[in-house]
Symmetry: C2
């Protein structure tokens, strides 16, 4: 056996931002039956919470996101994953709103998860960390919102798996949510998406350096398996049109085929880079656990006895759903199904399908129409709050 190498997970205790202990008095009861707590949640805030605490927006992140929405990311050195969306004058206008990003439970950026120390064993949880659900993520976030003293979120928003959390919030805690914006998402994970998740998980678990989940304890990292998982998933985030326009069949730094297995094509080089960069910032067991949480998500089954509209009965949450024309992982049909169910429940719902050829990743991008619709929806909701006598959700409110 080779000598243990230093695990490359960032030392999350040194990350900037806030950390809070939650579940202290009462543990969080996870859907799998395991109690979790006390546990740490790492979060970031942008903008200022007004006195009425009426201007808070909770941003729920997707599979590989984290709490660092905007500005420089302390681990990657790149911009936060929603820097185009969160900031002064942007759609989630931090001159007006108090924007909260928190790392999910099960994550790997400071919130409790497989890479954090399991106090019962004084070593990383690894796969002693339980398999969680989207509902568990939301229940943990709700403890954070309680901690911040926010009675009702002005908005809960997220794309992809973040949108699943936004939906779960609206259904689980309708009185705590004024508006919900589920973007590029679905009320349940499709068969095809479960299938792609399973391939990614098998790639990780096939890597001998995964060590049955105990790689951190063994001083190894399943880099190859995690990179393969990321490469496969990355294709699904893009449209064929976007891939073709960006890379076509262009060769990478060469004029002729090598008749070998180097990255002859630019798209190969790009995917390899995506894989390599990913393993430096992400954890393999987190990947397993979070994809599993997505697989299990089925809003109708859990909250509507199998009927989606039942999950929304009597809701006063104002919904804005957004999908993208070229998203084949969470196609418009999924959002449309949600809209039908919301209409059947006589809910207040807006829905827009945005023209974009960038695939599922569109929700991360600076697409003017998309941002305009979002800021317009939020402004309209804020006006409604004022008309109803609540103080305006602004930083000065």
């Amino acid at each position: 056996m080779s000598a243990p190498t230093k695990p490359q997970t960032p030392n999350t205790a040194e990350l900037p931002g806030y950390r809070v202990e939650l579940g202290v008095d009462e543990p969080l009861h996870l859907d799998c039956g395991v109690p979790l707590g006390p546990f740490t949640m790492a979060y970031q805030t942008y903008g200022r919470l007004n006195e009425a605490k009426s201007n808070a927006i909770l941003v729920c992140h997707a599979l590989t996101g984290d709490q660092f929405l905007a500005g420089d990311h302390p681990v990657t050195g790149k911009k936060g994953w929603w820097d185009v969306m969160v900031g002064p004058g942007k759609a989630l206008d931090t001159d007006r709103y108090f924007v909260i990003g928190c790392n999910l439970i099960g994550g790997c950026m400071g919130t409790v998860g497989p890479t954090e120390i399991n106090p019962a064993k004084d070593r990383p949880y690894a796969l002693d960390f339980p398999v969680i659900t989207i509902g568990d993520m939301v229940k943990a976030q709700k403890l954070l919102i309680d901690h911040l003293g926010i009675g009702r979120l002005f908005c809960v928003i997220g794309g992809s798996m973040g949108g699943m959390q936004a939906l779960d919030w609206a259904v689980r805690y309708p009185e705590r949510v004024f508006t919900a914006v589920p973007i590029a998402t679905a009320a349940r994970t499709s068969t095809q998406n479960i299938a792609f998740h399973e391939v990614g998980r098998q790639a990780i678990m096939a890597d001998p350096d995964w060590c049955g989940g105990n790689y951190l304890i063994e001083g190894k990292r399943p880099h190859r398996g995690l990179a393969v998982a990321r490469m496969g998933a990355h294709i699904t985030y893009l449209s064929e049109t976007a891939l073709h326009r960006r890379f076509g069949r262009n060769l990478q730094d060469r004029k002729n085929f090598t008749y070998g297995f180097e990255a002859d094509f630019q798209v190969e080089s790009y995917l390899r880079h995506q894989g390599v960069a990913f393993v430096d910032r992400f954890d393999a067991n987190t990947y397993l656990i979070i994809t599993r949480a997505m697989d299990y998500f089925d809003l109708a089954e859990e909250h509507g006895g199998g009927v989606l509209a039942e999950a929304f009965q009597g809701t006063e949450v104002r919904f804005c759903l957004i999908s993208f024309t070229s998203d084949w992982m969470f196609p418009t049909a999924e959002s449309r199904g949600l809209v039908h169910a919301l209409n059947a429940a006589a809910a207040n719902v807006s829905f827009v399908e945005i023209e974009s050829d960038q695939g599922h990743d569109s929700f991360l991008l600076d697409i003017p129409e998309y941002h305009k619709i979002l800021s317009g929806f939020l402004a309209g909701a804020a006006d409604h709050l004022v008309r109803c006598g609540t103080k305006a959700p602004s930083a000065d409110g």
Copy 2:
């Protein structure tokens, strides 16, 4: 190191069917610059070659196919991959036509490839076997057709990568082909398909048991990596609709989630089975080499100076193109692009898009409209041959 285990590649010398030595007088000059020969090609025939040798149909197989088109497969024990299509009274009617299936060069079912013995080293070629192209496959097949004394194929037909070979045949040896039937294919491999191939290759090469390609020599097999590659590819062969209808979110032999990483969902169990079954009949290096050959395929670039229509200038081959509505790997747009180019070259071309929700795998299936169109096209082409004074392409001709 663990003791070498017996490689599970079938002993191809014991397989039924024909084997012929080709490239004896003159080696096959591969596109990569390497001469290949003499080399063995394994093939099967169905039906009887008529005296005029005017009734021969060459079936080109796809990535994981082989020469066993119909009847029981000697390795898998299942039916041949095109048993629904090839046989008495079927679309490729063996009462009328002489149907030839041959294993591609680079394959692993008896034709020269990475699993066969490299006479220069008295051990399996492994990755000493050169990276080949679709054109190389066709050039090798042409030596077989020469060997059989067939001047002109009545038809060359194939789906997916088999369709690429059919196109290459028509362009490379137009005088040797009366009709060409490229099904569910494209004139070049798309960026997205190259990307998926690359993920599969990386999964194989990430498996330590791949041993840099020398697993047969080391007595190992990269089963885990090859299974992951197969699982990922298999998703792309099906449509989301077909996956959903077949598996939905149904659980596998259980009523509740396990909150673990067993195959909770039927679709997971199915994919795992696909992966496991595949490694018993297929070779990892062959998978690398054949996917690479697909990546390199670009008919316009190689034969038309970048203009697809130029590749078909003056062709007298009669084409019948078929695509399937739900095929997202080789969508109808690819076939339509081919039809436009053929029309621009004033070629004789029929094109049908078949309604099917089964995805790319539709080309393998028993879809009545598809088979009817195919047998109708072949019958019409046979009538035309007779009108032109050639003896009818029938077993009695």
